[in-house]
Symmetry: C2
Subunit: 344 residues, 2 copies
C-alpha cells in the first residue's frame, strides 16, 4: 500500500502533513508514503522529530514539487494555467499524477477543495455514469453507525439528477465501508412534507422515488430535516454542497462553543475545579468519543481512485486519520466497488 | 399590552400554548392575552391547572376560531381557499386579524411558518421598501451578545437584493434590541474568499459592499462560514431561508446529541454517578445557560406589526419565551423603529 501525500497543502503545510504521515506509518506497518513538496521543509520536519523509529522512516519517500500558494485563485484559473505534467506543477498536481500513473494507490491533501476536485477529476476521471465527484464525510451520531453527508462543498449548484447520483454513491459507500446491505438514504430539506423546499429538492425527491421502484440497492426515506444528521436513523443524507458545507461548519462551530462552555463550567470556582478532577476520566472519554478529529478525512466519491481531503486546519493527529481513511478505502477497493454497485 | 395567541398552533395545541400563555402572564403583570381557538379545549387546560392566581386569570380572554389542521396543505392553497374575515377562518387567521384591527399589539403562533408568513404579510403589510418578511432568531454565542441569523425558512429562494434587505433588517433589529450602534453583519458562505459560493451570494456581497459605501448603519464584514454563527464576533448573519433553516435544525440536533452523550457519560458506573451528583449544580447552570428554549421565538422582520413564531415542538416554558419575545418587541416599538431605521 503506497499513498501520495500533498505535503504543502493545508494551513500548516509539512509541519502537520509530514508529522501526520509519520504517525499513520507508525499505526499501519504495511503502509509507505511519498511526500510531495519542498524537500527541505519536509526533511526539516522529519529531522526535528528524532523519536521516529527506523522501521517508520524506511517507508518514507520524498519528491520535489512546486508549491504555489493554494486557494488564492479560483480553481478554474489554476487549472487553465497549469499543466499536471509540467515539472513545476504544484505538490497537489504531483501527488494526483502519482495516482494516475499507478505510482500510488491513493492520495491525501489538505489543500483547496475546489482545486483538488478539479485536478483529480480531470486527471483520474469519473466512474462510468457519474458526472461529478461528491465530497462525503462521516458524522458522529447518537448510536451505532456514523451518518454520511454528501455533498459537503464540491458542488454548490446541483441539478436534481446530481442529488440522485449522490444518493447512489453514498448508499454504495455505506454498503462497502459499513457492510449495511440496505442503507437508509434521505434528502435534506427544511420540512418533511412533499410541498416543502426548493423545486430542486422536490424534483430530486420525485426522481429518487422513481429510481427506488426499480432498484433495491437502498431504502429511500424521503425528506429529513437537519437534526436527523445526528440521530443515527439515517445512513446517508444528501444535499447540495453549499448546504452540506454550512451544516458541517455550523456543527463544528457549535461543538467547539459547547466544549468551551463545559470547560468554563468546571473552572468556575474551587469546588467545580475539584469536581472536574474527579470527573476527568469520564470527560476525557467523552471528549475522545465526540472528537471531530476522528472523523477527519472526506472522500471524493465518484472518482476512479481514492482521493481524500483533510480539513485544512487539522493537526497532525487529524491528518493521520485522513490518511487512515484513504488506507481503508484502498483496502476495501472502494472506487471499484462503487463502480460495480452502480451498474448492479 | 395585549397579545393575541394562536391557541391551536404547534404540535401540542392548547396544552402548550395556554399553559405557556399563563406562565407569561405570571411573569409580566401588565400583559393580557386573548387565546384564539376551540374554547372548550382552552378552558379545559385553564381548569386543569388550578394553581393559577386570580390576578393571572383575570387577564385572560378567549375567542372561538376554527382550527383546520395546520401544515397539511401548501400555504398558497390555504390562502387561496380561506378569507381572513370569514367567521370560520383558522385560529391563526383570527389572531392576525386581531392585530390588523388594533385589538392586539402583537400575535404569537407555533403554527406552520409559511402559513403564518403568508397570512401576516397579506393582512398586515410590509414596512415600506421591504418585499418579504424574514424570520430571525437569536442564537447562543461564545460570549456577550447573541447572534441573529436570518432568514430561517420563510424565503427559500432569495435573489441577492433580498439578502441585502435581510442584512438591513437584521442590523436595525440589533441596534434596537441590543443597543449596538454599529452592528457587525456578514453573509453566510462556504469560504471567505470572494470567489467562493453561489453566484447569488457573490452578487449579494457586491451589493452590500456598494450599500455600505454610502450608508453607515452597519459594518459589513463580508463572507463568514457556518462556525461563525456561534463565535460572538458577528451580530447578524444573513443567508437564504433554506440554508438558515438547515443550519438551525442541524445545531439543534447536535446540541441534543451532545447533551445526551454528556448525560450517558455520567451514568456509566457508580463512580461517575457519584461525580455527577457533585457536579449537578455546575451542570444545571450550564444546561440553563445553553438551553435552546431560552431562545425560542423567531421574529418575522419587515412586517408592520410584531408577529412571533414559536417552535412547533416547544413546551409551555418555551412558548412563554416566545410570548415574552413579542412583549419586548412591542415595548421597544420594533416594527416602527425598523421602518425609521430603514429610511434613515
Amino acid at each position: 500500500m503506497h499513498i501520495a501525500i500533498d505535503a504543502m497543502g493545508g494551513d500548516f503545510g509539512p509541519r502537520v502533513t509530514v508529522q501526520g504521515g509519520l504517525e499513520a506509518l507508525r499505526q499501519w506497518p504495511s503502509l509507505s508514503l511519498t511526500f510531495y513538496g519542498d524537500c527541505h521543509s519536509i526533511q526539516d520536519v522529519i529531522r526535528s522529530a528524532p523519536r521516529w523509529k527506523k522501521t517508520v522512516l524506511d517507508r518514507v519517500q520524498m519528491s520535489a514539487a512546486g508549491s504555489l500558494p493554494v486557494g488564492t485563485q479560483p480553481p478554474s484559473r489554476i487549472l487553465r494555467d497549469r499543466d499536471i505534467n509540467a515539472p513545476d506543477a504544484s505538490s497537489l498536481h504531483a501527488c494526483i499524477r502519482a495516482v494516475r500513473d499507478g505510482e500510488a494507490d491513493a492520495c491525501v491533501s489538505a489543500g483547496h477543495t475546489g482545486e483538488i476536485m478539479a485536478v483529480a477529476r480531470r486527471a483520474l476521471g469519473m466512474i462510468e455514469g457519474m458526472k461529478r465527484p461528491a465530497i462525503s464525510s462521516a458524522v458522529l451520531t447518537d448510536h451505532g453507525h456514523p451518518c454520511y453527508v454528501l455533498d459537503l462543498g464540491a458542488n454548490i449548484d446541483c441539478p436534481p439528477r446530481h442529488l440522485v447520483q449522490f444518493a447512489r454513491l453514498g448508499a454504495e459507500m455505506v454498503r462497502t465501508v459499513d457492510g449495511i446491505q440496505n442503507p437508509r438514504v434521505a434528502l435534506l430539506n427544511i420540512g418533511v412534507e412533499p410541498s416543502k423546499g426548493t423545486r430542486c429538492v422536490r424534483e430530486a425527491d420525485d426522481l429518487l422515488r422513481e429510481f427506488c421502484t426499480t432498484n433495491d440497492r437502498f431504502h429511500y426515506l424521503g425528506f429529513v430535516e437537519g437534526d436527523h444528521i445526528f440521530t443515527g436513523d439515517v445512513n446517508v443524507i444528501v444535499c447540495d454542497g453549499f448546504v452540506g458545507n454550512v451544516a458541517l461548519k455550523t456543527s463544528e462551530g457549535l461543538a467547539r462553543v459547547l466544549g468551551r462552555r463545559l470547560q468554563h463550567t468546571f473552572e468556575l470556582n474551587w469546588w467545580t475545579r475539584l469536581v472536574s478532577i474527579l470527573a476527568r476520566p469520564a470527560l476525557s472519554r467523552l471528549k475522545e468519543e465526540i472528537d471531530p478529529v476522528r472523523y477527519n478525512g472526506a472522500s471524493f466519491l465518484g472518482l476512479t481512485s481514492t482521493v481524500v481531503k483533510s480539513h485544512g486546519g487539522a493537526d497532525a493527529r487529524g491528518f493521520s486519520y485522513a490518511i487512515l481513511r484513504a488506507v481503508s478505502e484502498v483496502e476495501l477497493g472502494l472506487p471499484e466497488r462503487l463502480a460495480q454497485g452502480l451498474t448492479a
